[in-house]
Structure formats: structure tokens, C-alpha cells
């Protein structure tokens, strides 16, 4: 079977085929013969090259989270990723045009006004969560197009706080 995955923003085309009692994993010119054994609900053992690799794997929404050898990877499928980039302007990623809070909290300060020119990393909003003030910053330089929230409002990651018109 062939798969397309996104890891750290890079597209990886790979395939996995059954072979004898194991599998062949291919990516571009590289191939790896491996035995893959499910050990428990969230654990796989990959036996390859004489070594045994314990892999922890779990799903969280669209992401497949994989941990091994002290590293963690969030792997998604391009289709799921594409759905997140909604309509329109593709010059800047959606995350830069639409400013959101990564965690639920309370807006305690708005630091910009509509029409204001902003720098990259300029503080736009302060959201209090877990008793700490968290500064939400601009991912791109631009102009504040619209502000959707008010001070005191409770917000969560679904809510767009501010829309930015990116400028180079």
C-alpha cells in the first residue's frame, strides 16, 4: 500500500508491502525489510537490521503521534491538512491570517486596533490561561483587518481572535 504523510511540513511518499512473514518499507530509493509486531494497544515492535525498535503510537484527532528513541513525530495525511486551509488567499498560511489562541482562556488585553500596521511577532492579544498571561503574537507583518473579540471574553482555539491582512 502507498501512503502520503506530512511530517514537520514535509511531504513523504512511502509504501509498505507484506513480504514473507514481514514487511518491506520503501521511500524513494531506500527500502527496509522489517518485521512489525503489535505488542499492545499503543505499542509496536519493529525488528529490522538486527535491532529491535519499540515504537509508541497513538491517534489524537487527525494526527498519528509516534514516539521512538526519544523523538516524537506528529504525522498527518495531506488530505486532512488541506481541509484546514480553508478558502481563498494562499499567499500566507491560514494560521498567519487568522489569529487564534492555542488554549482556552480569557482575553485580558487587546494590544492593537483595526487598521493598525503590525510587525511580525508583535503582541496582538493577551489571553490569560492557567493563571498566566500569554501573549498571542502576529505570525506575519501586515495590517489588522478585523478584531472579533472583546476584553473579558472567554475564547477557545476554534475562535478567530483577529484577522490580519499580510503585507510583505
Amino acid at each position: 500500500m502507498e501512503f502520503e504523510f506530512l511530517v514537520d511540513g514535509a511531504l513523504r511518499k512511502v509504501s509498505l508491502e507484506k513480504k514473507d512473514s514481514g514487511f518491506v518499507f520503501r521511500e524513494g530509493g531506500t527500502a527496509l525489510d522489517a518485521e512489525i509486531r503489535p505488542v499492545s494497544e499503543n505499542t509496536l515492535l519493529i525488528l529490522a537490521g538486527g535491532r529491535s525498535h519499540l515504537v509508541r503510537i497513538a491517534r489524537a484527532g487527525e494526527r498519528t503521534l509516534v514516539a521512538l528513541h526519544g523523538r516524537e513525530y506528529a504525522i498527518t495525511k495531506p488530505a486532512a491538512e488541506a481541509a484546514r486551509f480553508e478558502q481563498g488567499d494562499d499567499k500566507a498560511p491560514e494560521g498567519e491570517r487568522q489569529v487564534r489562541t492555542p488554549m482556552p482562556g480569557k482575553v485580558i488585553k487587546l494590544c492593537v486596533c483595526p487598521g493598525e500596521e503590525i510587525r511580525k511577532n508583535q503582541v496582538l492579544v493577551i489571553v490569560e490561561a492557567m493563571k498566566m498571561e500569554n501573549e498571542i503574537v502576529a505570525g506575519t507583518p501586515g495590517v489588522v483587518k478585523k478584531i472579533f473579540v472583546a476584553v473579558g471574553e472567554l475564547v477557545d482555539p476554534q475562535k478567530i481572535l483577529i484577522e490580519i491582512e499580510p503585507r510583505p
Binding site: 514473507d20 512473514s21 518499507f25 515504537v55 491517534r59 492555542p102 493563571k131
Partner: protein, 508 residues
């Protein structure tokens, strides 16, 4: 000794206290907010009492509810842990009035050390070195401006009721003073319900060295040496260790004696910590007293062999310390890393959500004080500390290596944590050389990003993801979400003709 203790806290520290009580044959009562119904401390306690809605002010900070819970369950004492009501003198007084033992100093000592301004005045009188600063709470921005000018910039805004870095702001010049005061007051108000702040001279690039002290009710006081807590981000400690690489026996003895004098001047009983700043020229200044068990207490436990929570309970029950300063020794080296639910790749914003998989590290000299479990949903309402990883080894170098490998073995899937960031901190050459100051993270880790990808490891991860997709595709409705829901078939049966285990060739 007490028969039953109520723990007025949550998370890893509540779990830690419950464990100590169990070992001492004391029954435990947990309290919990609506957001903590499924939390680990509730599962481990013998009894659990709901104390209100998720926001801390309506639950963990509601003194009357907590004291009522103690009465209702027949608990003779309350252990406040750290944070919440731990250093609240009004709570101490309420306990005294209601005939419940508060496991900590008495309310008079709490009041004195909790008021940073009064504490500074007392210590100055007792001949303890203090940082130059305002002698009383700031009454107006104008007064602050004048004070800042006479102290000389940079200055630091501090919350009078403060702790844990909340309400603190460094001010480099006059232009920055007004916004820093505004933010400091706001944060202090929200964290402590008291917006008073004051200014101190900011000592650049110091080390943060604190001394653990134990004092029994007869006034017998000893110190259990230092902890170095210089690795801080936004005034929050993230790595702590003991012994401090900056102290020699002479300076250690001098600071330890001073710490004991501080506690005696404050009339302090039970476990407490005296914080000092140590500057480049090895001058030290009294900073404050932390009148509680501290997050970083385990490193002291590992090098002294003493159980601090057990000692707290014994002191509160009126038992004598039975320790002499001359008998106390530091043995080996201990390090602690705090595991926060924060995303180091996104400016350490808090991360909440479900932990879909958890594997804590193990091995010789590895201790994990944790308040979490796999499948648990991390609530957004409280401090983002999830757990603490503590290691002990014969010397600092071995302890650093042990910590690095234990962090590699730590797997938390589903939420962002500071683990990856910590891995780089404990491997940094400046950290390994012991050149740890409070400016360490700012100097070496500003704009941190993860190192280059290891292609071989990444390919194995992709193979695992492909395998996961393949096996899921075969059985509709199967998922490998963590915390197995009922009805999900075991992979052993869903894989059909797949041969598990056995002697099959490795196909290499």
C-alpha cells in the same frame, strides 16, 4: 500522630503527600473541583470530597469549604501542598480557630514571611543582607518612578504577595516602567487577589540559590543544604539541582547559617526555604522565604536521605526533629526537571487536552513524581505542571547523563510538553560546565527549535504510521486512540492471518 489528613491541593504534590501519609499509616482525604473529578490524587486518596466548580477561587482557594470538608471527614490536619492556600496566613488563622492543624508554620510567621516588604524590613534589622529596593508597597506610579531613578535601572517589579514569578517584570528603562507596573498589578491581582507591588534593584545574571530549612516546634532549626534553581523561564524554575556548582564548603556553611538565622528571626516552624540571589562576586542577598514544601524538594531528599513531607507531618504533630546540623551530609548529586504542559515551539503557551499515551522513565536513580496518567484530560484551569523527573547519581556529570537518558525515555503523547526542550538544556555544554545563571535560557535558548531530523528514526516512525493506517483500513471503525475504549478489538484478533512472535525470519 494524626490518624487522618486532608490534602488541600491537586496534581503531583497531592499525590506525593498522599503517598507519604500511606507510608505513615495515616488515612487521606482528597478534595477536588469539578474539573478534577477524574484526577489521579482523587483516585489515590482514601476519601474524596468535591469542593466546587473548576475555577480555583471557587474550589481550591475556598477556605471555608476546605475546613468544612476536614470537619466532615474527621481529618485532624490539613496539608496545603504548594500554591493555592499554602502560604495564606488567613487560612492558617482559620485552621487555628477551627481546631484543625495546618501543616506548615503558624499564621504569625506565615504573615510575616508572606509579606515580602515586612519580611525585608525584619531581615534587614536582623543583619541579613538584602537587595536594595523600596522599603514599602508602591502607593503611586510617581513614587515608583522616583524610586526606580534612585535605585538605578534595571529594576524589577514584584508582587508583595508574590511567588512563582507571577506579577514580576524586569524594567530596563523609564519608558518600560508604566506598562510593567500595570501588567504586574493585574497578574498579582489575578494570582493572589492582592495587587500591591514594589520595586527592587535588578541584579543582572545572578544565580538563584536557596536553602532548605527544618524547624521543630521547640525552635530547633537545621538546614538541609542548598538547591540551585537558576534555570528559569519567566521566573519559573524549570531545572533544579543540588549541590550547587557555584558553592564551596565555606560559602555553603555561611549561607546555611544565614538561612537558619532568617528562619529564627521569623519565628518559623516546619519546613521552609530561604531564597538567596548569588551575584558574580559571590555576594549573596536574602530574597524571600518560601513558607511551604517546594516543587523542587525531591532533590534535597535524594542527597540528604530525608523524607521532607514526612518530616513536615512529624513536626506538625509536635515531634522533635532529632537531627543535628553536624550529622547532616550531602551525598552524590541530584537534578530535577519540571515537566510542564507547555509548547516550547510556540513560546511555551499552555497545552491542554487528552494524554493519549504515557510512559514514564525508569531505572537506577530515576524518580518520577507525577500527577497524571495515560488517557487523562489535562484541565486548563490550573498551573501547567504535570510531573517532575528527578535523578540521583554519584556526581554531577553522571546525574546530567542520567537525566538526559531518562528524558529520552519519557513519552507523553497527545499534548505538548517541555520534555524535548529539557533534553537540549541538560545536554548544553554551558549547563554541563555548571555555568548556570538565571540568564542561561535567555542567552542560549532564545528562539529554540528542535535539532535536525534523524532520518533513520523518522523512517521507522513513518513505517509505524503506515502499518497503523494499513491495519486500521482493514477493520473499519478500529482506532488506536489511547486509553482503550470498550469494544475496541485487540490487535491480536484483528490482524487475522498475521503471525505474532515466533521464529519467523527477521527478513533482513
Amino acid at each position: 500522630m494524626f490518624k487522618k489528613i486532608l490534602i488541600a491541593n491537586r496534581g503531583e504534590i497531592a499525590v506525593r503527600i498522599i503517598r507519604a501519609c500511606r507510608e505513615m499509616g495515616i488515612s487521606t482525604v482528597a478534595v477536588y473541583s469539578e474539573a478534577d473529578r477524574t484526577s489521579l490524587h482523587v483516585q489515590l486518596a482514601d476519601e474524596a470530597v468535591p469542593i466546587g466548580p473548576a475555577p480555583a477561587v471557587e474550589s481550591y482557594l475556598d477556605m471555608n469549604r476546605i475546613v468544612r470538608a476536614a470537619h466532615d471527614t474527621g481529618a485532624e490536619a490539613i496539608h496545603p501542598g504548594y500554591g493555592f492556600l499554602a502560604e495564606n496566613a488567613a487560612f492558617g488563622r482559620l485552621c487555628e480557630k477551627e481546631g484543625v492543624v495546618f501543616i506548615g508554620p503558624d499564621s504569625a510567621a506565615l504573615e510575616l514571611v508572606g509579606d515580602k516588604v515586612r519580611a525585608r524590613q525584619t531581615m534587614e534589622k536582623a543583619g541579613i543582607p538584602i537587595i536594595p529596593g523600596m522599603k514599602s508597597v508602591a502607593q503611586s506610579p510617581r513614587e515608583c518612578e522616583a524610586a526606580a531613578r534612585s535605585l538605578g535601572y534595571p529594576v524589577i517589579v514584584k508582587a508583595s504577595a508574590g511567588g512563582g514569578g507571577k506579577g514580576m517584570r524586569i524594567v530596563a528603562d523609564e519608558k518600560g516602567l508604566a506598562p510593567a507596573l500595570e501588567a504586574g498589578c493585574r497578574e498579582a491581582k489575578s494570582a493572589f487577589g492582592d495587587e500591591s507591588v514594589y520595586l527592587e534593584k535588578y541584579i543582572e545574571d545572578p544565580r538563584h540559590v536557596e536553602f532548605q530549612v527544618l524547624a521543630d516546634s521547640a525552635g530547633h532549626t537545621v538546614h538541609l543544604f542548598e538547591r540551585e534553581c537558576s534555570i528559569q523561564r519567566r521566573f519559573q524554575k524549570i531545572v533544579e539541582e543540588t549541590p550547587s556548582p557555584a558553592l564551596d564548603p565555606e560559602l555553603r556553611a555561611r549561607m546555611g547559617e544565614t538561612a537558619v538565622r532568617v528562619m529564627k528571626a521569623a519565628g518559623y516552624t516546619n519546613a521552609g526555604t530561604v531564597e538567596f540571589l548569588l551575584d558574580k562576586d559571590r555576594n549573596f542577598y536574602f530574597l524571600e522565604v518560601n513558607a511551604r514544601i517546594q516543587v523542587e524538594h525531591p532533590v534535597t531528599e535524594l542527597v540528604t536521605g530525608l523524607d521532607l513531607v514526612r518530616r513536615q507531618i512529624m513536626i506538625a504533630a509536635g515531634e522533635p526533629l532529632g537531627l543535628n546540623q553536624n550529622d547532616l551530609r550531602q551525598r552524590g548529586h541530584a537534578l530535577e526537571c519540571r515537566i510542564y504542559a507547555e509548547d516550547p515551539r510556540r513560546r511555551f503557551l499552555p497545552s491542554s487536552g487528552r494524554i493519549v499515551f504515557l510512559k514514564e522513565p525508569q531505572g537506577p536513580g530515576v524518580r518520577c513524581d507525577s500527577g497524571i496518567y495515560g488517557g487523562w484530560e489535562v484541565p486548563v484551569y490550573y498551573d501547567p505542571i504535570l510531573a517532575k523527573l528527578i535523578v540521583w547519581a554519584e556526581n554531577r556529570e553522571a546525574a546530567c547523563r542520567r537525566m538526559a537518558s531518562a528524558l529520552d525515555d519519557y513519552v507523553v503523547l497527545g499534548i505538548h510538553t517541555t520534555i524535548d526542550f529539557l533534553k537540549d538544556v541538560v545536554r548544553h555544554p554551558e549547563f554541563l560546565a555548571g555555568r548556570t545563571t538565571t540568564a542561561f535560557l535567555k542567552k542560549h535558548f532564545e528562539g529554540w527549535g528542535e535539532g535536525g531530523a534523524d532520518e533513520d528514526t523518522l523512517r521507522l516512525a513513518l513505517a509505524a504510521a503506515a502499518y497503523d493506517e494499513m491495519t486500521r483500513a482493514r477493520i473499519p471503525g478500529t482506532s488506536r486512540a489511547g486509553g482503550s475504549a470498550p469494544g475496541i478489538p485487540s490487535p491480536w484478533t484483528t490482524l487475522g492471518g498475521w503471525r505474532n512472535g515466533g521464529t519467523g525470519s527477521h527478513g533482513v
